[in-house]
Symmetry: C2
Subunit: 311 residues, 2 copies
Amino acid sequence: MSNIDILVSEVGPRDGLQSIKSIMPLEAKKAWIAAEAAAGVREIEVGSFVPAKILPQLADTAEVVAFARTIPGLQVAVLVPNAKGAEAALKSGAHKLTLPLSVSETHSLKNLRRTHDQVIEEAKAIVAMIRELPEDQRPHFEGSLSTAFGCTLEGPIPDAQIARLAGRLIEAGCDEVGLSDTTGYADPRAVKHLTRLVRGVVGDDKLTGIHLHNTRGVGLANVLAALDVGLTTVDSSLGGLGGCPFAPGASGNIVTEDLVFMLEAMGLKTGIDIEKLVACRTILKEALPGEELYGFIPDAGVPLGFKPASA
Amino acid sequence: MSNIDILVSEVGPRDGLQSIKSIMPLEAKKAWIAAEAAAGVREIEVGSFVPAKILPQLADTAEVVAFARTIPGLQVAVLVPNAKGAEAALKSGAHKLTLPLSVSETHSLKNLRRTHDQVIEEAKAIVAMIRELPEDQRPHFEGSLSTAFGCTLEGPIPDAQIARLAGRLIEAGCDEVGLSDTTGYADPRAVKHLTRLVRGVVGDDKLTGIHLHNTRGVGLANVLAALDVGLTTVDSSLGGLGGCPFAPGASGNIVTEDLVFMLEAMGLKTGIDIEKLVACRTILKEALPGEELYGFIPDAGVPLGFKPASA
């Protein structure tokens, strides 16, 4: 983060690809990741260590990680649904592991087939595995509070429940927690409220990132709210690819291209070159014919006389 | 504004219709305006008093105003390009007149075929006509600073030029100035900056509204920035219909449905019922077959357990 203000964490190769039917060939994934890294993206969630029968789209995650690790300066992140997935992730040498914990227990049972207590046990088991590694080889381990802004099955989740689960993740040994609007329910007031609530429990340094969807069009307004309360890492997906296949109607990560435009226009350095970023879409279009890509900047272009902060 | 926090000003019947080729029949315009008013919309810009040969889509504005004035509690707004248009507007009995002044003189010459000095002279002539009316019949008169966030022909416009023109509009007798992102160039930082700049010249009470486009996907983030600096009126267009036909690539007002969702989710009362608002789209779809409508809320619906502020 030394020379950037906001870390844009690209999650398309994981959250994007898991939500579509097409399977992207390994070579295209490599090309995509390399191109985004070359555009200046510093962190990419490249896959998820889930059984191939559940998400065949991500069956090659270990190979993707192996490739991504060869790119200098790139933080290689993966999702792990449980300790078994974490074991594979550790073996792969990923730099960052994220374990989702649905604050809605109904969603947790549907998505991970585990109760809250069971997910916390998985977190503890993952921490134990990580601590067996030499200190300089330990990945960053995040517990992500998914459905934090409400659940398509349960509706709003009580503050106390979210706060308690955030605390339990840190107690279990997570380095950090994250807020995740899995369902696209967030609004700017809720983003500020939940950030303050969770930071009050875990400390400011243990909540720095947010994962937002644009399901209801307010994704970038939610980013602005997140910036206002001091969050510094924002997940997004190239072309807005993605969503959660287990939360109906929850498709649509915020679009990396538009996010980077907004941040750079506001004077916040992302380190990312917008033109090179937009050019990465060609790889998606060729490898995923028929999949719809979103985003305004790719069509509209930047304003005449635009001066990005990172330039 | 007594029982609402934010005034959502629907501009679709003017800014939306002027930017599309189809001509909406008068009866459909009436149905649209009546339906939005019934959904709780308090202000609608129903047309523009421009020559029919330039914008045949708006040739029936006088009749639309006559109808809209019969709706109790509705503030009926119109655009006027010059004193001649204002004369017709005054005759129609519109409650609010907006004269656009492009802060980019190049755009002003293209859009209104007038220099800045000439537009200011028009403003003075309009004020003179208004002041001839009995006090209780005088409409509210706004000078709108269009291309305020940059021009597709000139690029960024210097602060000093914007500040000077805002001051001249107030000196000419406008009740208020407004900020207009005609080109979709705004970002949240610029919204805050320009609002403070112009308010510093004209006073807080003489700049309360903003007109934003979603050309680059950051429209609602820009609204959030506007709220942060105390603006209370936000223009938008049902289904995102519209844009400026004289600024290439500038299409796309922010979507009323999504705007109302964001505001109500944040606890800000608009007085508008989202379901009834979304239902108004049927009128557009039937009267404008082939025209694309935008918006996320109409597809995604509101979150489970959603509690709008106005309920």
